[in-house]
Amino acid sequence: MSRKYKIPKATQESTASRVFLLWIPLILFLVFLLFPFYWTFVTSIKSDAELHSLTVSYWPAQPTFQAYEHLFGQFNFLHPMKNSLIVALITTIVSLTVSTLAAYSFSRFCFAGRKPLMVLFLTNNMFPNVLLLIPLFTIMRQIKLLYTPWALVLSYTTFTIPFSVWLMNGYLNDIPMALEEAAMIDGANRAKAFIKVILPVLLPCLLATGVYIFMQSWNEYTFAVLFTNEKNRTIPVALKMLVGQLGVQWDLITAGGIITVIPVCIMFFFAQKRLVAGLTAGAVKG
């Protein structure tokens, strides 16, 4: 199709409108969104005296990493980090495995009950967490799983599985069936076709979904605070514990906060593109 008229290009915008409609609002947004992290970091490297001085300083006069030393020494922050890692890894592996199988089933087969089952998975996020938390607490207590990592893993699957099924179903629908059909004509059975043909194409999507599940379990607080004790408490609970032992220790909390978000941010940046594509596909297509 030939175009008879000029397309208004971004480069044709006037400098004034670039400044007022792009740069100024963009900078304001980024400052608003990122300032809390800057502030958290600055707080974590302030000395105690500077922290509780009535004049607020925007960069510490004498930066110190004492809070980090205390956090890992006296407060043994590695322990909750290890607990969080265990819970997040197990949750990710379990959810990813069962969700991929379920999503493959939804995406590739037509069977009686397919529609109601899909709706069951899609509407799952309607149930308030607090509603699930109450019976899960009593059940975990009865089957003696309370205060073990499994109590958290099982509770987290209540939201990670439905979500991953939905996400993986979207990714799988984008992979043409012709791909595995070709393999099956060549004599491979369905399982083999899935492993040899689909899985390699799906791998980046699996990683993106895995990162999302990991993030959710790493960050979760409401279940964690009720379902853990001193031995297996996860990072979010440990962070909150720093409030109120000896007043609020803001340098320790902020240091812990920085340590907590860094791994998640790194993982997120690698998975970001595909994850966002998968998340938005459903909502945009409708």
């Binding site: 009535l54 199988l101 509407t123 069936m177 909502a283």
Partner: protein, 296 residues
Amino acid sequence: MELKSRRKRFNIYPYLLLAPALIIMLSVVIVPIFNAFNMSFMNYNLTRPNKMGYNNFGNYVKMLNDSDFTGALWRTVVWVVFGVGGQFLFGFMLALILNKYFRGRGVARAVSLIPWVTPGVLIALMWSWMFDGNYGVINDLLMKLHLIDDKIAYLARKDTAMPSVIITIIWQGIPFFALMILAGLQGIPGDLYEAAAIDGATGIQKLFYVTIPSLRNTIFVTTMLRVIWVANSVDVIFNMTNGGPANSTQTLAVYVYKKASSLDMGYASAMAIALMLVLLVAAIPYLKSTFAEKGA
């Protein structure tokens, strides 16, 4: 979507593939929901195990006469309307900005999503520290800008606590809205803008007559997801104000959570079911579209 593998023979394969996910969902979601439903008709306080038993709708009667419950219900509405409303408004603005061409756009897009991947507890603690009455940076900034004269203890005052937690939840939710709307913006065919430009439409007119109508579905789905999410969220309020001062930030989800933490499971279940019903009613249009389009 094409379904070529449709066969007349009964095929057990899809059911086998679904089985693990279904079994887990059945045991951690469906059975517990029935459990909670059952508990909601009982005196079920774990601190008083010998007094358990059905109480003839006692929890529901108690709920209707509990001014803390009705207050919490009302505050949930305020929390959701302003929280989600703010997230939408600013998320939309951010999406429009990030949809323009500029150097460093990829980085700006990725970086602006960070609040979304930050744990709720940490968000609550970071903002509590910034809102702090004595050493808080927000007081310092506002005083430097001469917007206030005296320091304010935001989270300790009845009139400022709710706005403070709402600002926090808005901050947390802007990225999600922005990324959904941005995806929607990228899906609008350029022809529509060209046609509007030929007809002499101004920027504002394009926004209202092209952009917003094209995004209707995206906005609708995203808002629905967020309403459910924000209404159910506990961690931000719980860790910033614990529902206080004088219950002024106690939403229904927070109230239920506190009741459950004090092991009064019967009453907590009844209120959690009430919360679910409220959300269900609010989400009817969303559910309808889910049944109509996605289930096909």
